[in-house]
Amino acid sequence: MEHLLSILVKAIFVENVIFAFFLGMCSYLAVSKQIKTAAGLGIAVIFVMVLTTPLNFLILDYMLRDSALAWIHPSLAGVDLTFLAFILFISTIAGAVQLVEMVVEKFSPPLYNALGIFLPLITVNCSILGASLFMQEREYNFTETTVFSVGSGIGFFLAIVLLAAIRERLKYSKIPEPLQGLGIAMIITGLMAMAFLSFSGIQL
């Protein structure tokens, strides 16, 4: 249990997807002008991340790993399909996002209107695929993968809402013209990343 808590805290604070790995920076910088839209994107990311990362784990574990196909037939024991991981992972993500979009559109139009624009964007959000690839690289088991995906999602949500809050305030400050917009957002993200560095070394 403590071990899982440690993974969660690590994914949210210590190894935050944005501040430690810069995953999902594009949408992070592009959609952080207002808190409301930023929160919408953050929630959509948590949702898709928690859905797809465990799904990808199952695919990896039952189809791709070295001799993972043995459960179909013993003669398939020597097959190693790990090199197909990228294609299958991204297809899962793209398929899941499309499916989620259709289901939400059908059954909950208000939620669709809130998330609608962001859902297709999420397919190409690096943090989603990044979570799946880290899960593969670090060899988590199923529970760890689920906890890790929740943590990464919350980490992204936290980061984007924080930046949006700061950028809303920036409207009232005097910034040199060429630095406005993207430039200052980068430098603020750098300062926030430095602040998040202070979490490193936390052990639970």
Binding site: C26, G130, E137, P178, G183
Partner: protein, 225 residues
């Protein structure tokens, strides 16, 4: 600049008209005026993460250039037969295929670099440059200009990567491409490497300042976003 050699030489001998003025602009514009990282805000993620040293940055830039170029070419080729509703999945599968090839090549011939880049090779798939250029350019243009556009954007990305990684490696570990640049006597007299440069925030500061410099030099880029 090893990145420069991949793009141009091959098609030159075929037909001169291929490099008309318009096509040349498609190739060179992304290097500065519409640079994917600093102006279009595409592909920032990997630009920040792989730039602690020069060598991985060059390899990464090459990989991205190849993938953007060829995915643009393929998509532009089959763009009329892709159904609109599932075009995202079709694009992603083609990109993923190319990235898998790049990844396998890296694993086979440059294993140490491949280890250092870790998940970031896989993340070329979701690199916004690739998807962004596919959507914005390749879906509506002919194959050859699309290919040039892809290569150009890949090189524009590479330029930023190399600038950032040179600064970070020089100040962070006193070397370039693995060779020691800062002499030993400097260390003896109390010079120390700047540890911050090896940490993630440094990349953000450098790109932030680079954007500042670029926009103050080129006024029409101010207020792009």
């Amino acid at each position: 600049m090893s990145t420069g050699t991949t793009a141009a030489p091959k098609p030159l001998e075929k037909k001169e008209g291929l490099f008309s003025k318009k096509n040349r602009r498609i190739l060179t514009d992304p290097l500065d005026d519409i640079n994917p990282i600093t102006v279009q805000i595409l592909g920032v993620c990997s630009a920040l993460a792989v730039t602690t040293q020069v060598k991985p940055a060059i390899i990464m830039a090459l990989g991205v250039t190849i993938v953007t170029g060829f995915s643009n070419l393929i998509i532009a080729w089959i763009r009329d037969s892709i159904p609109g509703r599932i075009r995202m999945i079709v694009q992603l599968v083609i990109v993923a295929l190319l990235v898998t090839i790049v990844d396998q090549l890296l694993k086979a011939f440059m294993f140490d670099v491949s280890k250092k880049l870790s998940v970031f090779v896989g993340l070329i798939i979701t690199n916004c440059i690739v998807m962004g250029r596919l959507e914005a350019f390749a879906m509506s243009q002919k194959p050859w200009p699309s290919f040039l556009d892809g290569i150009g954007n890949g090189l524009g990305y590479g330029v930023i990567l190399i600038i950032v990684s040179v600064i970070r490696e020089f100040f962070g570990s006193g070397s370039l491409l693995g060779f020691k640049i800062v002499p030993q006597w400097a260390y003896d007299h109390g010079y120390t490497n700047n540890g911050l440069m090896m940490l993630p925030p440094a990349a953000l500061f450098i790109i932030g300042c680079f954007i500042w410099w670029q926009r103050s030099r080129n006024k029409k880029l101010v207020n792009v976003s």
